[in-house]
């Protein structure tokens, strides 16, 4: 069959209102392009693996508590081995934070860098978009990854714990919801700000991803080593330590059980949970600032 085009000429569009939320198509397209890469699926698979693992822990714990009185299970033993709900949730947020960082290095490192490399800024800003529209679209796309892989599963785990446990134990778990969400959101904020800021500074997605992971590991190493050497304020440089401090303070984790300690080795904390929170926000703000600086530098208006 001959491949032919039968066009109907140029048709004028009805002049209707055109006020869509511009960041949405930008975010959706960025995520669509990322999803088409195999590496993205692999990264997200690791995130899913954590959810399944910690989900199993929570379910096991809930079942042990539910059947504690029947003599079929020993909740105290389960708690000693697999930890309290607080420990599991706190550990999940911290482990998933690191896994998400790897996934984001694959998924989001090119969100702005690829546009710069392809010379696509003209393509965006020759249309009725503001810098804020573009930035919001890219931030939305970046934040979608930790929101989907960290915040939503954290909520899910808490929901399972609350819904599945007995009424006696459930009362204590209700109050864990907001702190769990707050901790996960702190992690999301840092991850989003850091990766989008670096993406705005670079031109090659792979290089940006590598720098992002190296930065996370470097800051963590410095933030752990210097306080141990007698310089406690440097602990606030480490996002991992900051998040650990915030999680510990919000969830009141206390002592660690065997099982959770195997999955996630806790470490020393910073002196102030508020200080850690502010350090996370400040580092994220630097990232958002880098994005703003880049757009102001390259785009008028």
């Amino acid at each position: 069959m001959i491949d032919r085009i039968f066009d109907v000429g140029y048709r004028r569009l009805d002049a209707g209102p055109r006020h869509r939320f511009a960041p949405w198509p930008i975010a959706r397209t960025a995520l669509l392009l990322a999803w088409r890469r195999r590496a993205t699926k692999v990264g997200l698979l690791f995130c899913l693996g954590n959810v399944v693992l910690y989900g199993g822990l929570i379910i096991f714990q809930v079942l042990m508590q539910r059947f504690d009185n029947t003599g079929m299970a020993d909740a105290a033993l389960a708690e000693a081995v697999f930890g309290t709900a607080q420990e599991v949730l706190s550990s999940f947020v911290q482990v998933q934070f690191m896994t998400c960082a790897i996934a984001l290095a694959i998924v989001a490192a090119g969100f702005v860098a690829d546009d710069r490399q392809a010379g696509a800024f003209d393509l965006y800003f020759a249309r009725p978009l503001t810098r804020m529209d573009y930035a919001a679209g890219k931030v939305l796309a970046t934040a979608a990854v930790p929101l989907a892989a960290l915040v939503v599963p954290a909520f899910g785990l808490w929901f399972v714990a609350v819904g599945g446990t007995s009424a006696t134990h459930g009362a204590g778990l209700w109050s864990l919801g907001p702190p769990t969400m707050a901790t996960a959101l702190c992690g999301t904020l840092w991850l989003t700000g850091a990766v989008i800021g670096l993406s705005a500074m670079g031109e090659k997605a792979r290089a940006v991803g590598a720098v992002f992971v190296a930065l996370l590991l470097g800051l963590s190493a410095v933030g752990e080593a210097l306080p141990a050497a007698g310089y406690p304020p440097f602990g606030y440089l480490s996002p991992v330590r900051d998040l650990r401090t915030v999680a510990d303070a919000l969830l009141d984790v206390g002592s660690r059980s065997m099982g959770v300690a195997l999955l996630h080795k806790g470490g020393p904390l910073n002196a102030s949970a508020w200080g850690s929170f502010l350090a996370l926000v400040l580092q994220a703000a630097l990232g958002f600032g880098a994005l703003g600086w880049r757009l102001r530098r390259e785009v008028v208006g």
């Binding site: 491949d3 032919r4 085009i5 039968f6 066009d7 109907v8 000429g9 140029y10 048709r11 004028r12 569009l13 055109r18 006020h19 869509r20 511009a22 198509p25 930008i26 397209t29 392009l33 088409r36 690829d114 546009d115 392809a118 010379g119 696509a120 003209d122 393509l123 965006y124 800003f125 020759a126 249309r127 009725p128 978009l129 503001t130 785009v299 008028v300 208006g301």
Partner: protein, 305 residues
């Protein structure tokens, strides 16, 4: 008024890309002509609000580029020179995405994208990734992206660069179709005179950041009609001397009874008749030189400053 510039200046470092650009342009298809580095792309980017002029005023479709850039961009389509693509998207997705960025709903953008790709003649390959496209296919996608939201004016920056003759023909036909078929007005930036001659009814000629001519093509060609070939009965030397003394450019031919005379600005052919009477030369042939656009263009840009 489609485009109006008053004393527009744009400087990059110590280089003045635009220097006192002043022009008022009206028409359905306007050629923006000039050699490479003349400032065409800079002028287009100022129209879009992508660059802010350092001095002067510019209005597009009656809207000020400094204060109403977003409203202007809603009514403009732009096909940039060079890459300007999003790798990973297909041609269809690229065009639909451009529509969505201009405020179309997703379903409408997709339907419109199909229409525009039909219009520019991109067949089933519209479903392939843009990074696999040839230059010609890529140019078509860029034009479709510029048209998808139905702008009032579409800016095409060197759209025929790198095209084979057939694709170039098709693209120029499309511009003519837009011009004559109720589509958006077109501002075609190019350094190819033939493209302008074939598609445009007005042009702006730029060189070294300055506007050398702005107006209908017919006016440009009239400029050339100031040059005449003439023959006299007997030697033409007295007439040549008389005209030369009055500021005319005079070139003698191989024959002593033939002259080529270029009248000074604002002079009319009557000056030659007056010269013939005064010098006693009888004219038996006088003809204005026919002007091609190329000659008119070269004359308009003159020697490089």
């Amino acid at each position: 008024m489609l485009l109006a510039f008053q004393g527009v200046r744009k400087v990059f470092g110590s280089f003045a890309a635009l220097d006192d650009v002043t022009a008022r342009v009206e028409g359905r298809a306007i050629g923006l002509l000039g050699p490479n580095g003349a400032g065409k792309t800079t002028l287009m980017k100022i129209c879009l609000g992508l660059l802010a002029p350092d001095a002067g005023d510019a209005t597009v479709l009656g809207l000020d580029v400094r204060t109403q850039a977003k409203a202007i961009r809603m009514r403009l389509g732009y096909a940039a020179e060079g890459a300007g693509r999003i790798p990973g998207l297909s041609g269809l997705e690229s065009v639909a995405y451009a529509g969505e960025l201009c405020g179309l709903r997703r379903a409408d953008a997709l339907r419109r994208a199909h229409e525009m790709l039909d219009l520019v003649g991109l067949d089933e390959s519209r479903h392939r990734g843009v990074e696999t496209y040839s230059t010609g296919m890529h140019q078509r996608v860029k034009v479709a992206m510029a048209l998808v939201h139905d702008p009032a004016l579409v800016l095409l920056d060197e759209p025929t660069t790198g095209l084979d003759p057939e694709s170039r023909d098709a693209l120029l036909d499309l511009i003519v179709q837009l011009r004559d078929g109720g589509g958006p007005a077109v501002l075609l930036s190019t350094h190819l005179l033939h493209d302008v001659e074939r598609t445009c009814d007005a042009c702006v000629i730029m060189q070294s950041g300055r506007v050398r001519f702005a107006g209908p093509l017919a006016d440009l060609q009239v400029m050339r009609l100031q040059t005449f070939d003439l023959r006299t009965r007997g030697p033409a030397a007295p007439l040549a001397a008389w005209l030369g003394a009055r500021g005319c450019g005079v070139a003698t031919g191989r024959r002593d009874d033939a002259l080529t005379v270029r009248l000074p600005e604002n002079a009319e052919a009557g000056l030659i008749w007056a010269g013939a009477a005064a010098s006693g030369c009888a004219l038996w042939h006088l003809e204005a030189q026919s002007a091609s656009l190329e000659e008119a263009f070269l004359e308009a840009i003159g020697p490089k400053p």
